[in-house]
Amino acid sequence: MTDTSVRLTTKKDWASDQEVRWCPGCGDYGILQAVQFLMPELGVAPENTVFVSGIGCSSRFPYYMNTYGVHGIHGRAPAIATGVAVARPDLDVWVITGDGDALSIGGNHFIHALRRNVNLTILMFNNRIYGLTKGQYSPTSEVGKVTKSTPMGSIDPPFNPLAVALGAEASFVARTHDLDRKHMIETFRAAHDHRGASFVEIFQNCNVFNDGAFDEVTGREHRPANLIDLKHGEPIRFGPDRERGVVMGSDGQLRIVDVAEVGEDAILVHDAHRVDPSLAFALARLSTDDHSPTPFGVFRSVERPDYGTEVGAQLAGAAAKKGPGDLSSLLRSNGTWQVTEQM
């Protein structure tokens, strides 16, 4: 039933006929554009692609893609998508979620999808706010944030989504932002091409309820100073003249230094393929606010067996060992006896 020969598609083939209904100026538009630009380049067919989402502004995403799609229930997208991916390892399954959807109501499903390494590409739109319910604080909102539900300021310490994902044994972890289409496309491509669960945090601006949350990092004028573009195998340097860099101190702590002071050789070389996740974790925690240097790109990308393939292998193994299932034999597998007329 699955057409494996891939025909050429264009961006238009991936857009549904539904009117996009996000607020004007929402960062979600840029993300949708990036995904629709990328899809024709991936060598997959729309009919073999499934977008699954939870609840929230971002979760309307599947309606705008001309693929198969499930707009699910709040927080459950990773679980629904696990069902799709386990049943059909031949499909390309994407999860669209937000910071509240993935990390609050769906936190359990999120970590377990990563732990199992289900073959999913999870795009989490992080705007640090609940938009659809009109402006309550989210699990990524900063302490002190004043919202409708926190008139005196939030007292909840936020999650660091990348650190949560790494703690959940995610095999692919990356970060991008809604103002850089090229960076989004390249990050999404890498996430898609990774076999297993890929997690991408997207800094996304909610211009209605949390406008400018990431401006000091992702705003065009701030990027040179505060956006660290991670590249595997390259020294971690940034700044208008790449004059700053990241080093690991003898205490294991990452520090931002002037390259001139420590010398080029002292600068940490990024290794996304390291099996040990501690470097990725340290990089994820390099910035604890939204106005200091913050790494973007692929933090971690390691090979690990994916869940759907493993499930399939057990099925094949069982069939090889026991032969294909036979219903008549199954019913007799606990022993039988005959009752004859004479008795």
Partner: protein, 626 residues
């Protein structure tokens, strides 16, 4: 129950017997009862079993709370219940005697492991005086057997340490009872060899204990004669002994096979449903995928996802798990995808009585979703029937693209009965076609796929699965426009969709065979049952009619929608009584639906009805009318 039919030599022939094995949780009573059952099944008896064990894996040893029992009713004729009262009680310790003596029928036999009746154990069982001496056992036949020490003696020559030998004493009891009731021993010895193949010393110890028990019966004067329950006159055929959970799991495998679909199960361990997860996990060679999910919610959600992707998506649970699955089930109502929620009911609310039976989830099955969210409900009525109920539930789910709740309960789940195996070639084809072509023509002549353009007969929507070119579509929990399936919030459309979803479920009743009325159609009193009350009602109706009284009986497998002819049938009786292991949940529904004078007969003790309880209820109903 133990009427003597015939007496030949030293073997007394009886038509049926109810034996209860009782001991500490760690004494292996479930295993012992199960083996005795298997030996009886192979011998050709009809049988029915009732395992009864505590929720704690190991409650404090020697206490009444820690008593685990297994009751088995074996018979030479067709029986359906595990017996009202045991005629023989095997008590492995004082706590077991204390817990279960009250159940024993007057004049019954008590076989005691006398080694355990010391001061310490009597104290743990909270006996203030010794029941062997204080008259507690007056009126019963008491047989004292030093099972622990005899087991140790039997195992000692093998080099088994006394402490380890103690664990084999259940096999001594099994050997003794096997002698008393003339059970064939080869099958049990073979089973011991197989089960304990990996630990030869344990295998030998169990074998020695079993044979020591058997020989003890043979040689002691106490068991001067033995009993035999002849094989039952069951219809000819090939039989297996089956529990409800295994039958249900096999029914799900069969349903997927008959639907020509792969099966994906999402489940989270919970008593007493876990055995279905275990059983299905064994059958990967049937293409069965099982995922032990992170929680009950995920288990249901992933089954919905699997169904969307073209599998038969199933989730299994009990108790609080049913509540957690409500959200995903509502989503399935909205998505209109096939989805099966299997609920092995147990005592509630909350954790309630995890290991005890109850049938109090009918209300949550009927009404436990937000919004107008009707769905079909199928209930199994006997262990073997779980197989067929699973196929029927899947048939409905697939044909109508709807979630279905399949209700079983703890009693059916763990109870067993002989099952005459069906010819698998006679099982129905329940496959449904996937949609592969556009179903709507636009004004300009172009075509489209409309995921909510319904079949005019069944009102089912087309099921187009990912991978099908040209059929890409989006579904979701937001209200959809009739036909196109696009998001639509208009008042009129919502009202139409609510009615369409309800009408689709209502039409399912058109598939049912006419409702069977058992017993006397011209009786004044009709018993309306559902679920596992079947066994006790069956026995009670038979007894009532044997006494020359008229009574009718209707047993429902479909609880939603109810059969189209049910109202007319019930209105034809002067009195309808509804025995339920809840406080009258079906009773309330039939009163509301049909305005009939139905009365609930309720029991919520974590135990099934006895036939006597139903028989009394029938009699009371008849008296009220006269």
């Amino acid at each position: 129950m133990t009427d003597i039919v015939d007496r030949t030599g030293e073997t007394e022939q009886i038509d049926s017997i109810v034996i209860r094995f009782a001991g500490d949780s760690g004494d292996g009573m479930q295993l012992t009862g199960d083996r005795f059952t298997s030996a009886s099944a192979v011998f050709g008896n009809d049988l029915s079993t009732l395992p009864d064990y505590p929720a704690e894996i190991r409650a404090p040893a020697g206490t009444v709370n820690g008593v685990s029992s297994f009751q088995v009713h074996i018979s030479d004729h067709d029986i359906t219940t595990p017996g009202d009262a045991p005629t023989v009680l095997i008590a492995m310790n004082p706590a077991a005697l204390k817990a279960d003596l009250g159940r024993l029928s007057p004049g019954g036999t008590v076989i005691l492991n006398i080694d355990t009746f010391d001061e310490r154990n009597l104290e743990k069982a909270e006996y203030t005086s010794n029941p062997l001496e204080d008259g507690t056992l007056t009126g019963f036949k008491v047989i004292e057997v030093p099972m622990t020490s005899l087991t140790k003696d039997a195992a000692a020559p093998l080099g088994v340490k006394p402490r380890d030998a103690d664990r084999s004493k259940n096999f001594f009891a099994l050997g003794l009872v096997s002698f008393m009731y003339s059970r064939p021993i080869e099958a049990t010895l073979d089973w011991i060899d197989e089960r304990f193949a990996k630990n030869d010393l344990v295998r030998q110890s169990n074998r020695a204990a079993f044979m020591a028990g058997y020989h003890y019966g043979e040689t002691t004067e106490e068991f001067g004669h033995r009993y035999i329950v002849k094989p039952a006159h069951l219809p000819p055929g090939e039989y297996t002994n089956i529990t409800g959970n295994v039958a249900l799991a096999w029914g799900l495998v069969a349903a997927a096979h008959l639907a020509k679909l792969p099966l994906t199960l999402g489940s989270y361990p919970i008593t007493p449903a876990s055995d279905i997860l275990h059983e299905l996990s064994k059958h990967k060679n049937f293409g069965v995928r099982t995922v032990q999910a992170e929680d009950e919610i995920a288990a249901a959600a992933l089954a919905v996802g699997a169904s969307f992707a073209g599998h038969l998506g199933i989730t299994t649970t009990s108790g609080p798990g049913v509540a957690l699955k409500s959200e995903a089930t509502s989503l399935a109502v909205s998505l209109e995808v096939p989805f099966l929620l299997v609920d092995i009911q147990r005592g509630g609310p909350s954790t309630g009585l995890p290991t005890k039976t109850e049938a109090a989830d009918l209300n949550i099955a009927m009404f436990g979703r937000h919004g107008e969210a009707p769905l079909p409900i199928v209930a199994s009525y006997s262990p073997a029937h779980c197989f067929f109920a699973a196929i029927e539930a899947a048939r409905i789910a697939l044909k109508y693209r709807t979630p279905v709740i399949l209700l079983s309960d703890g009693y059916l789940a763990n109870g067993s009965e002989p099952w005459k195996l069906p010819d698998v070639d006679t099982l129905p084809d329940i496959s449904v076609p996937f949609a592969t072509e556009h179903n709507h023509v636009n004004a300009d002549g172009s075509t489209e796929f409309w995921p909510y353009l319904r079949d005019p007969d069944t009102l089912a929507r087309p099921w187009a699965i990912p991978g099908t070119p040209g059929m890409m579509h989006r579904v979701g929990g937001i209200e959809k426009q009739d036909g196109t399936g696009n998001i639509n919030y208009s008042p009129a459309n919502h009202e139409k969709m609510v009615h369409l979803r309800a009408a689709k479920v209502a039409r399912i009743a058109d598939d049912y065979a006419p409702t069977a009325v058992h017993g006397d159609a011209d009786a004044d009193v009709c018993v309306l049952g559902w679920g596992s009350t079947w066994a006790a009602i069956d026995a009670a109706v038979q007894r009532t009619r044997r006494r020359g009284q008229k009574v009718a009986w209707v047993h429902l497998m479909h609880l939603n929608p109810l059969p189209n002819d049910l109202g007319t049938i019930l209105q034809g009786f002067r009195k309808v009584i509804v025995p339920e292991l809840n406080l009258g949940q079906l009773c309330r529904i039939v009163r509301a639906e049909y305005l009939v004078d139905a009365t609930a007969v309720t029991k919520v003790q974590g135990m099934p009805f006895t036939a006597l309880e139903i028989e009394d209820a029938i009699e009371r109903a008849q008296e009220e009318l006269s």
